[in-house]
């Protein structure tokens, strides 16, 4: 587990260095993820240790968002000032975005099986 955590942190560090070094707006860990993904493609997959550690971390991904999420308490006044348009926009647009994405994917991933017979 320690070696897998070290590897994850090393890739995060590399991502952070690249993001700051090149002045990119993409967060360092996201670049670290891309680097590790590339390394896995080259190496032909993760070892057992890395896979188990990743599973453990991702199983409790929800927990990791709680400290930042609790930060909402600091912005109560900002949100309260315009709570009607903000709440409506958040609810409406989040549901619309999920709905549109799913319907587009569903429509496009349905391969018409009779496709060839239609050809002249």
């Amino acid at each position: 587990m320690i070696s897998a955590l070290t590897l994850l942190l090393a890739f995060q560090l590399a991502g952070e260095v690249i993001a700051r070094g090149l002045g990119l707006q993409v967060p360092g860990p996201v670049i670290g993820m891309a680097l590790l993904f590339g390394a896995l493609l080259l190496r032909g997959g993760p070892g057992e240790d890395l896979r188990q550690t990743a599973d453990k971390l991702l199983q409790h991904l929800s927990l990791l968002f709680i400290p930042a999420g609790t930060g909402i308490v600091m912005y109560g006044e900002l949100i309260a000032a315009e709570w009607v348009p903000l709440t409506a926009a958040l609810l409406g647009s989040t549901f619309l975005a999920i709905g549109v994405t799913m319907l587009v994917l569903k429509a496009l991933s349905k391969r018409p099986k009779t496709g060839q017979s239609i050809q002249p």
Partner: protein, 244 residues
């Protein structure tokens, strides 16, 4: 409170131990409730835990910053966890490749829907310019949303709060949309929730399956990238178009 208790409270409320322990306790309590309700979407553990912690901070008159001094040890793990998303992505790579075309189209349309509908609803109901620009990047991960909102005239702090609320709304609401629109494919479920509700949605997707989680992670990453690149010119263009 007796003098000793007051002293103890002064010590505890300033110590990182309290924030860290409260975070773990709130999560466990929230998850217990979530399981007891048979994983009811409205008992979402992230939402419940945040509500519990907000109540405790308010009742105990604890400053968010001193809470975060302890909670940051949990928060820090978001970095390595994000890197670890490479593993499910690798596992799902064969299926991802076959869906590349539809995924790109769904990404662009879903991302535009998130931005334009938030702007339209907010503007119709009279939101200020600063609020609209803070709303626009609400579907992407916090650091990107804050960085994108500021030069457009949004408030980074408000953007961060709206991102969090979006994540919770997406995680709570998505299961209802899955049922209503009859979407059974875990790849589609995951991609949509990751696109619209970033990391909190991705965390929810991992509760469905590894496949849903991998597609959510991909959508979150791609939408973050797309939004960072496209919003700086979409929003000014939209405002000119509407003559605002």
């Amino acid at each position: 409170m007796t003098p000793q208790l007051t002293e103890l409270w002064v010590y505890l409320s300033a110590s990182p131990l309290l924030g860290l322990t409260l975070t773990l306790m709130a999560y466990q309590a929230a998850f217990w409730l979530y399981r007891r309700t048979g994983f009811h979407p409205l008992a979402n553990p992230v939402m419940l835990a945040i509500a519990m912690l907000a109540t405790v901070l308010w009742l105990g008159d604890i400053d968010y910053r001193s809470y975060f001094d302890g909670a940051q040890f949990v928060h820090f793990l978001l970095g390595p966890a994000t890197v670890a998303l490479a593993i499910p992505l690798y596992t799902q790579w064969p299926r991802l490749k076959t869906m590349a075309g539809p995924l790109v189209i769904a990404l662009v349309l879903g991302s535009l829907t998130a931005v334009l509908s938030a702007y339209a609803i907010g503007a119709m109901l009279g939101a200020s310019h600063a609020s609209l620009m803070s709303l626009a990047p609400k579907s992407v991960t916090t650091p990107i949303a804050m960085a994108v909102a500021e030069p457009l005239g949004g408030l980074p702090a408000l953007a961060a709060a709206l991102v969090m609320l979006t994540g919770v709304i997406g995680a709570v609401g998505a299961p209802y949309l899955y049922r209503w629109l009859r979407i059974g494919d875990h790849a589609i479920r995951g991609f949509a929730i990751g696109l619209a509700a970033h990391g909190i949605g991705t965390a929810r997707a991992f509760q469905i399956s590894e496949q849903a989680g991998a597609f959510a992670a991909l959508a979150m990453g791609l939408n973050g990238l797309l939004t960072a690149l496209s919003l700086p010119w979409i929003m000014p263009w939209l405002e000119r178009l509407l003559g605002r």
